[in-house]
Symmetry: C2
Subunit: 241 residues, 2 copies
């Protein structure tokens, strides 16, 4: 049975917001970099999968932050895979400061895509092959929640630009998270309250597409729906605690 | 007489564009972080200046890149101050790969602002105080060029959002550079041609302001003017070589 892997990071100046604390998207970026690095080290990274014309696709993410570390702070991310289903693999993360105190956690669910057919690959076989990589530890937080419906009461527009896209010319995960936080009032973002983000990736948004970010508020929870020119692409909720 | 200082960096996954090479804004961010770090180490960083209610303000920047390093590449930035005028201090940079081959250079000019009066501080006295920090080496590239006028033939709109702002709640330098590159065609950005950027910061853009990015093309040079709701805030040129 495998062990959790631990990677070290530092909050760099370009990762903080006006409060001089790391943004949710910068910490989320470190979480996803950790996933990529760990899969690569264990031989089932995107590079290895591409040789079989497969790739990992992030389907859902839950991200909880009790607090956001300040500029130049060292922190560690531990990661492990807890289980494979037929369609989704679950990769978990805890974020801890240099003293070992946990300040955040994430649960991500990934599908494997066949790049030729654009269909999901059945992970049953993959799960057996990679059984060595599975760690017998539960997810550190509730798995990504289903967001059943969003009825926007306000919207913002965004055209997918060069600075938004990844090597597939699709919108970057973290730029979606920026769009969510850009829609909320600055006082709330300055409040340093604990926060839980749930985000579902339904369809890709491509370079040049015009996106409509819609949202509604239910008490301390903000619900979001991002549409591209064709359909709903991302659904998310941000719960302030 | 002082020596050049050298700092080491690595191109992280969140710093690359769709070509998997570092973006101009990510490398520019490393240049400005180097300036901040070096000033801090030598006792005249923003932290020390703030105690006298002063701060450094970036006035102009010239940035030349022969090529852009790929993801996970190690590189080094050397920095030195070459001279002080009455209003502007000139800080220089060279960027080199792990083998020591130079692939980029920058010249930045900084004013010192009195935060109470919002006026520039006369640097004559400061120059004498910090004479030890001056390195007897010329700037590695032509100093930031004056951009006399821009007559936009096309425009894009951008509202200054949470993800754009620094601790002053002003638009970040690097987000301006993103706006310039977002306006150019993807083919050109994919071409990996050498590039020179000149950028002048005329006025601050604040959270919530609506910006108009205007541009015209003169051969291989793109000229930009960014206006906030009140006036022209930034002027820039991007020359493809």
């Amino acid at each position: 049975m495998a062990e959790k892997s631990v990677y070290t990071y530092r909050v760099e100046p370009q990762e903080v917001d006006f409060t001089l604390c790391a943004t949710v998207s910068a910490l989320g970026s470190a979480v996803l970099n950790t996933a990529g690095l760990d899969a690569h080290r264990k031989g089932f990274g995107v590079d290895a999968l591409n040789r079989q014309n497969h790739s990992w696709v992030l389907s859902r993410m839950a991200f909880e932050l009790d607090r956001r570390p300040g500029q130049y702070t060292d922190y560690r991310i531990a990661t492990w895979i807890s289980d494979y289903g037929r369609v989704l693999s679950t990769r978990n993360f805890t974020l801890a400061d240099a003293a070992g105190e946990e300040f955040g956690r994430a649960v991500t669910q990934w599908a494997m895509l066949d790049l030729a057919s654009r269909a999901a690959v059945d992970l049953s076989g993959v799960g057996r092959e990679h059984a060595d990589a599975i760690v017998d530890a539960p997810s550190p937080a509730e798995k990504p929640r289903k967001i059943l419906s969003v009825t926007p009461v306000a919207t913002a527009e965004h055209r997918v630009a060069y600075s938004d896209i990844d090597f597939n010319r699709h919108m970057n995960t973290m730029r979606y998270i920026d769009l969510l936080f850009d829609a909320m009032p600055l006082d709330l973002l300055a409040s340093q309250r604990a926060v839980r983000l749930d985000i579902h990736f339904l369809h890709e948004c491509r370079y040049g597409q015009q996106l409509t970010v819609g949202w509604e508020r239910q008490g301390d929870t903000w619900l979001f729906s991002i549409r591209n020119e064709e359909r709903e692409a991302v659904r998310a909720s941000v719960e302030w605690r």
